[in-house]
């Protein structure tokens, strides 16, 4: 299955990633390869096999309700492209 240019552009938009023409070429190639691998997996006969949501057979990994110190304010905003009044500043979103 091949992903179209438009599909890759749409995915990039959803992921908020800026892509140029060269990226579009490269990613549609790579993403298509991933999908093709899933097509191979889909050929396996799974009749009678229950679905698995987790590959590791763990369950009930749980913690007690104890509060611990959080990050320092400077650390929280260290990577923020823009900040204001101690908050992350982002582009307006329409409700």
């Amino acid at each position: 299955m091949r992903l179209s240019r438009e599909e890759v552009q749409h995915i990039a938009l959803l992921a908020r990633l800026g892509v140029d023409e060269a990226d579009l070429q490269k990613f549609s190639e790579q993403l298509s390869n991933i999908l093709e691998n899933f097509e191979i997996l889909q050929k396996v006969d799974t009749t009678g096999v229950p679905p698995t949501s987790h590959p590791v057979a763990l369950s009930n990994v749980i913690r007690d309700d104890e509060a611990a110190p959080s990050l320092l304010p400077g650390e929280v905003l260290a990577n923020a492209p823009r900040e204001e009044d101690g908050c992350f500043r982002v582009r307006a979103v329409l409700e």
Partner: protein
């Protein structure tokens, strides 16, 4: 044409845990500066590992049990994807097809008894960040500020079946649900502060028709009153559309308080494609039956049981018992008063205390917009005041004035009675002069009484009460007057 209203409610309640749902940041963010209760997990940094908070799961199971739900043996978390900046990760950790619990009910009061409203499910998820929308004054550019403190706070979602048939039933359901959460101590249930939120699905259909029309989702209702008003508005709006031969569309509408109306919200791009899939970072949960039974044994007496007990133990009416037990704090207050109240008949004491709580207390809470948890009159101080009435020091009329003073100042009854000279006068010697004066001034009434008109006596008692500014003990005055009149 007669229409039937169909309403289902979706409630989100923040849980009263110390730490967040999947990280150890404190949930005590109410007065904190922005982004001070934040760590790599709730910031959604790559490579972090969330871990489930045991207390949150226990609270959600207790709630589900109180709502008569079946607790799943196996449950897991899922990612709900949507692009909105209040989600730091680009998805919310929620539950989709294996929720913690399902198929319960909650009873609401309707005319002539109670009705069970189905609960579809109670599941666990996480709260999102807070956004502030701003405009750059110079350029007019709009932007948003993100405070992550709230993101990751445990959020419990309670979904009802579309069993509610009127805005009033919806209000009843919400009040009962909040009351149960408060009895359990799992949430503050405060709607104005946003720890208890409600969205509604509402549609109308021709009576007896059974089929369904387009469902409208109503959001932005920030108080019980707003829910009631928004739903009333929607019933009317939808009826008018149908009566004009129009067609209702499935949409989301927001309640705008200032307009007193719901307004269509432009649907978000890709809004309904959440692409749910199992959260790979959180292994599934197995809930043992032992754990369920252990939590069931920890459930407190719930509002309905307490109401029934108040009716049988104290002989209260269903109506009064419902009002008294609606808030756990009020029911506790009521029972504390009874414990402190010395001697006497149980049912009579209960009736007296209930009358005060549902009368003067309720009136003053209403006027001052406060609640019993903020009340400055302690149970022992009410009992002390009732004692003054019992021994005849304070008349019932005067008691209301004294109580109002206690309520506002937090001072105690004997002090107020003494300071203001409000004590009831029962000593005949102190009333002699006033009684004589009233008899002298009202020759007509005296004559009427002698001709057998009982009304005249009542009038003269009233005159004495007036002359003593209500302080005379009316029973004593009555006796004195009769004696004087008989003596001729």
């Amino acid at each position: 044409m007669e229409y039937e209203t169909v309403i289902g409610l979706e409630v989100h309640a923040q849980l009263l845990t110390k730490s967040k749902m999947f990280c150890s940041c404190s949930t005590d963010y109410a007065d904190a500066p922005p982004n001070t209760h934040v760590c790599p997990v709730c910031l959604g940094m790559p490579g972090v590992l969330p871990t489930i908070n045991r207390q949150a799961i226990e609270y959600a199971i207790m709630t589900a049990l109180a709502l008569n739900c079946t607790i799943a043996e196996h449950t897991r978390f899922d990612r709900k994807n949507y692009p909105y900046p209040d989600l730091m990760k680009g998805y919310q950790i929620s539950q989709y097809d294996n929720p913690l619990s399902h198929d319960g009910w909650l009873a609401i009061e309707v005319e002539g008894g109670e009705r069970r409203i189905g609960i579809t499910r109670v599941h666990q998820e996480e709260d999102v960040a807070k956004l502030w929308h701003r405009t750059e004054p110079a350029t007019g550019e709009t932007y948003s500020l993100v405070d992550v403190n709230r993101a990751g706070v445990p959020l419990m979602e309670i979904v009802s079946e579309p069993d509610l048939r009127s805005p009033e039933e919806a209000r009843q359901y919400l009040m009962k649900l909040r009351s149960i959460l408060q009895y359990l101590g799992v949430s503050t249930g405060n709607m104005e502060e946003g720890s208890f939120r409600c969205d509604a699905n509402i549609s109308i259909r021709p009576m007896g028709n059974g089929g369904s029309t387009a469902k409208v989702e109503v959001k932005n209702m920030n108080s019980f009153k707003a829910v009631y008003r928004a739903l009333e508005y929607e019933v009317e709006r939808q009826r008018k559309v149908l009566e004009k031969g129009g067609k209702l569309v499935q949409e989301t509408r927001g309640w705008v308080e200032e307009k007193g109306a719901t307004v269509s919200q432009r649907s978000k791009e890709y809004a309904h494609d959440y692409r749910y899939f199992p959260e790979p970072d959180l292994p599934p949960l197995t809930i043992s039956r032992e754990m369920v039974e252990e939590l069931r044994s920890r459930l407190p007496e719930l509002p309905d049981d307490r109401r029934d007990r108040f009716m049988s133990q104290y002989g209260l009416s269903r109506y009064d018992a419902n009002l008294l037990t609606a808030s756990r704090a009020q029911a506790d207050y009521f029972e504390s008063c009874l414990e402190l109240f010395p001697g006497g008949e149980g049912e009579k004491k209960a009736k007296t205390v209930a009358n005060w709580l549902l009368g003067e207390y309720a009136r003053l809470f209403n006027v001052t917009e406060t609640e019993i948890t903020e009340c400055r009159v302690e149970p022992r101080h009410l009992v002390e005041m009732l004692g003054l009435i019992g021994e005849g020091t304070l008349s019932t009329t005067m008691a209301k004035a004294v109580f109002e003073e206690m309520f506002h100042s937090g001072r105690r009854a004997p002090e107020i009675v003494q300071e203001k000279g409000l004590a009831q006068v029962s000593a005949a010697s102190e009333l002699e002069a006033v009684v004589a004066q009233v008899l002298a001034d009202n020759a007509q009434a005296v004559a009427d009484y002698r001709q057998g008109r009982e009304q005249a006596l009542k009038f003269m008692v009233g005159q004495v009460m007036r002359a003593t500014r209500g302080q005379a003990n009316p029973q004593v005055v009555n006796e004195m007057l009769v004696k004087k009149l008989e003596e001729g």
